[in-house]
Symmetry: C2
Subunit: 122 residues, 2 copies
């Protein structure tokens, strides 16, 4: 079970590591698209688009439905939840950094105040 | 600006698409580690570990500090926030799916109730 979760995270993050594939997911968030429609915004061949779509399918992020001779793609969002959860573990770290930065800025403000006052009140 | 964000997401997601590298980040969440310490849990050479560390550095997820002849690595969590935010856009989709599933289950429960009653009260 742990292994399959690991494999899924590998394929999902790998699929997301390409701007064209991320853009395709964004398109599919608006609704189903044919392979041709997914390829259109990029200056790539249908074959190249198909390769990207296969990577997304392998990661379970897309479901492809065949209607006559047309392949229609749908977004499958579930695997994104696992990736989001994995990243969520680190949220405390980037939040801690921001908090530390804020504390530093307040400290600098506080240490500057006496000089400002001296300046105001010679 | 948009381009550099895109490039950063590419390198961050690419870096996360490998279980060894994700495990290294998890180790660093506990505190700084030398390259040797990061390599230890995996049966890989220092050279192989160093390659993974370089991918993580390129994505801005690790900062490497040289202390004498020892390279010490630190977690740099900020780029993970961007990836988390990107995935957060899709949260509504996986939540919608779960809501729809829940509605379906409730509907099934409701439609089963009369039969259950008939069974109880012949």
């Amino acid at each position: 079970m742990v292994k399959s979760e690991t494999t899924q995270l590998n394929t999902v993050f790998h699929a997301l590591g390409d701007a064209t594939r991320r853009q395709m997911l964004l398109e599919l968030a608006d609704g189903e698209r044919t392979v041709g429609e997914l390829a259109k915004p990029f200056e790539i061949s249908l074959a190249a688009a198909s390769k990207h779509i296969k990577v997304l399918e392998k990661a379970g992020l897309i479901r492809r439905e065949v209607r006559w001779r047309t392949h229609v793609c749908h977004l499958e969002p579930a695997p994104l939840a696992g990736a989001h959860e994995w990243l969520g573990f680190y949220e405390r770290f980037w939040t801690d950094r921001l908090d530390a930065l804020e504390r530093l800025l307040h400290k600098e403000d506080a240490s500057q105040s006496p000089y400002d006052k001296e300046g105001d009140d010679p």
